[in-house]
Subunit: 449 residues, 2 copies
């Protein structure tokens, strides 16, 4: 009976274990997990932070260790994988409760070690506010809002803005410090500006173009010299793939810094797979490796890895970098390439920015959607989109993500047969309005001929 | 200077006029419209009926005759086209205010005559409740809720259920009479059942499998003999394309009963186009003509017709029959073919029905989506979908409408890179959950080999 060992059991690891179990009941499957909890939604943690009563911690857990055990998956919780011996086909482990070491032999191995926050690059005053990160469910208790209610969030990416909203909704004074001149700076200016305005409208102070110099007893000192009072500092400026185990075992690391995998999630070592935040993906438009540590990508990769661990032959067809972030009900989403990214990848990007209503303009609930659409001039293929608004953003981006996946042109998108009724959409959905503007219009003779 | 005459100015006609004007400023463009108002959203009328203060009548009008005139479009309002003389290139018209007749010569002609309600097939008692239809903006005053507050709606299609909701929300007692055994009977049972349950939950009585025998002084008598008190009867059981003008001119009518057009919206007569509810469409999956009198189809066809009237060479790429209907916040939507339609069209349909949450299951606002997905067994291409639920139905159907448009397979849909964040969607969107279930899963050896 083949023995499968999976290191990491949050998203990709848990999904792979479940998939392998369902696909092949004869396998022995062992999941090694550092924390007590596994199979949880890491993306849900900021929402639990904001609404611990409505969304209790236990709700984030899709399956407990006991439930996985009942499905015949052996869970080694509070156990750390310390080394992989490829020749011996074994993982050396340490029990974090008792310190005992042991060996987990494997026929096939999955690395689902995830990602870890980058250590703060500034000096931390031991007498100052705690500097915490919000990534694992085990982090949550350290991240609860302080009594004094002053929080500095360092980093304006998705986790940073979600956490800033959570603290603000709990009544804290919140300052968000972003190193770049703008939030979501890789997207068109109007997108980041809209997100920033929304955060500020809710009383969050945003300091862009700024870095933390050090923490001090009373808070955070910026490079500018300004001191911001804080009783808690949430460090949300960057994560890195956890590749130490793979590197030590001689498994190839890709150009992005994450573990290199082929379409079957196979690493450079025979019988060793990687999936989730520790692994690279292939971008469908550029055909280049990218590192996109996102929950849905982890789950899709985990499913492919699980299928293949079970003896199947599944392929992961790549990613478009689709994502969506919520700030106080304003949604910001993107898919595919920006114009700059498209240009770098060798396309000839053309773009348009439109603002159009999410529903028939006379209906209550209609909200403006701002959409930036990018296409390739010669082929007319849609390449990317970014959108911001209070209604219909997920739908807008999902239509375009599906269109880009399929290689549709602006002509196709302009003519798509989408679901229209006044309470749900305008006659021409926003992607169609934008696509129509990108269609070349040959000049017609004034005579009408 | 070429002279364009457009008969009908609601959706397709108004869109064509605006498109032709923008594309070719040198044209003379004349729109002939029976009613005083044009360029309005017919789909918005039930919402105006329900909320006349929030959505006043004027808000439904995208452009008034004056506004069109300022853009150089001549509007002949309250004028009826009575005959088309193809040889003479002229439309004979009658002014409905003064009875004067006239002639509108044309170089190119667009028929955008729309559709009309089918006359009630039952005896109407002149002393009984008024029997009205709700199709044109001019109908609205006759359709206002009666003081006594008892309305019978005949017909359980989109207009019927939207009107029933409107009357109910205005406090009327509402009975809906449907000839077939189920609402939306062409869709899977669970869809129509959910819509019916929602209407009933809001106090609307639904009588299926039943027809009106006649109206009587106090209301409506059914074939069963039951009399339902009513002071207003809304007849919403069927419409027909308005093809009389075309037929009389010898223009070809298609197998569906609507005006036959090619991809350029050209009729059988040289220089004569048709678009909107009076014209056929081509179904992209079956490549057969269908008649789909829907507002968004009318607008898309109108755009193509307008481009070609102006001397362009646009093609209408066809339809998928996508639609969405709202009943008290519950959405019902469909796209593509049902299993029965797919079978008739020569496909080998396989189907699945799933219920899965619209957002991460732990998030407030997550609602179940019931989705029926149909695919073709040999090619694995997605063929159709129907969905019902309170959240995310438009998004679900639009993802699938885009996928079907592009010819994607269940494998593609299962792996799409969509926008995931807990407040907006689950890790695997409902179309992906359903598509995954339709992927063939070859049996894996228990040994894992």
């Amino acid at each position: 009976m083949a023995r499968i060992v999976i290191i990491g059991g949050v998203a990709a690891g848990a999904k792979a274990a479940m998939t392998a179990r369902r696909r092949n009941p004869g396998l022995e499957i062992v999941v090694i997990q550092e924390d007590a909890e596994l199979a949880y939604s890491a993306c849900g943690i900021p929402y639990h932070l904001a609404q611990p009563e409505t969304i209790p911690r236990a709700r984030l857990i899709a399956r407990t260790a006991d439930e996985l055990a009942r499905e015949g998956i052996v869970v080694r919780a509070r156990v750390r994988a310390e080394a992989i011996e490829l020749g011996a086909r074994a993982v050396f482990v340490r029990d974090l409760e008792h310190g005992r070491t042991g060996v987990e032999p494997f026929d096939r191995l999955l690395l689902a070690t995830g990602a870890a926050p980058i250590a703060p690059p500034y000096w931390i005053d031991a007498a100052g506010p705690p500097v915490v990160t919000l990534r694992r469910l085990a982090d949550i208790d350290r991240c609860r809002p302080p009594d004094t209610g002053s929080v500095v969030v360092v980093g304006g990416g998705p986790i940073g803005v979600e956490a800033a909203e959570a603290y603000r909704s709990l009544g804290c004074r919140v300052t968000l410090v972003e190193r770049l001149p703008r939030l979501f700076a890789s997207l068109p200016d109007s997108i980041g500006d809209a997100v920033q305005a929304e955060l500020e409208r809710h009383g969050i102070r945003i300091i862009t173009d700024s870095s933390v110099a050090r923490t001090v007893r009373t808070g955070v000192e910026l490079e500018s010299g300004e001191t911001i009072p804080a009783s808690l500092v949430l460090q949300a400026a960057g994560i890195r793939p956890r590749t130490e185990l793979a590197e030590a075992a001689g498994i190839r690391i890709g150009t992005t810094g994450a573990i290199a995998v082929d379409r079957r999630q196979r690493t450079s070592a025979v019988g060793v797979y990687a999936a989730g935040d520790c692994a690279e993906s292939r971008h469908r438009l550029t055909d280049r490796p990218v590192w996109l540590p996102l929950g849905d990508v982890a789950n899709r990769q985990g499913r492919v890895a699980g299928e293949n661990l079970a003896g199947g032959d599944a392929e992961f067809p790549g990613v478009l970098g689709t994502m969506i972030v919520s700030v106080f009900g304003l949604a910001m989403a993107r898919t595919g390439l920006t114009a700059i990214e498209a240009d770098r990848a060798g396309f000839e990007p053309i773009g348009v920015e439109v603002t159009a209503p999410s529903r028939a303009r006379y209906m209550p609930g209609a909200e403006p959607i701002r959409l930036c659409l990018v296409a390739d001039r010669p082929s007319r293929r849609v390449l990317g989109a970014a959108a911001v608004g209070r209604d219909g953003i997920g739908r807008t981006i999902d239509i375009l993500a599906t269109a880009i996946w399929a290689g549709l042109t602006v002509d196709d998108v302009a003519e798509l047969d989408l679901a229209y009724a006044p309470p749900y959409s305008p006659v021409f959905a926003v992607p169609q309005v934008a696509a129509e503007l990108l269609r070349p219009k040959p000049r017609l003779a004034p005579s009408g001929g």
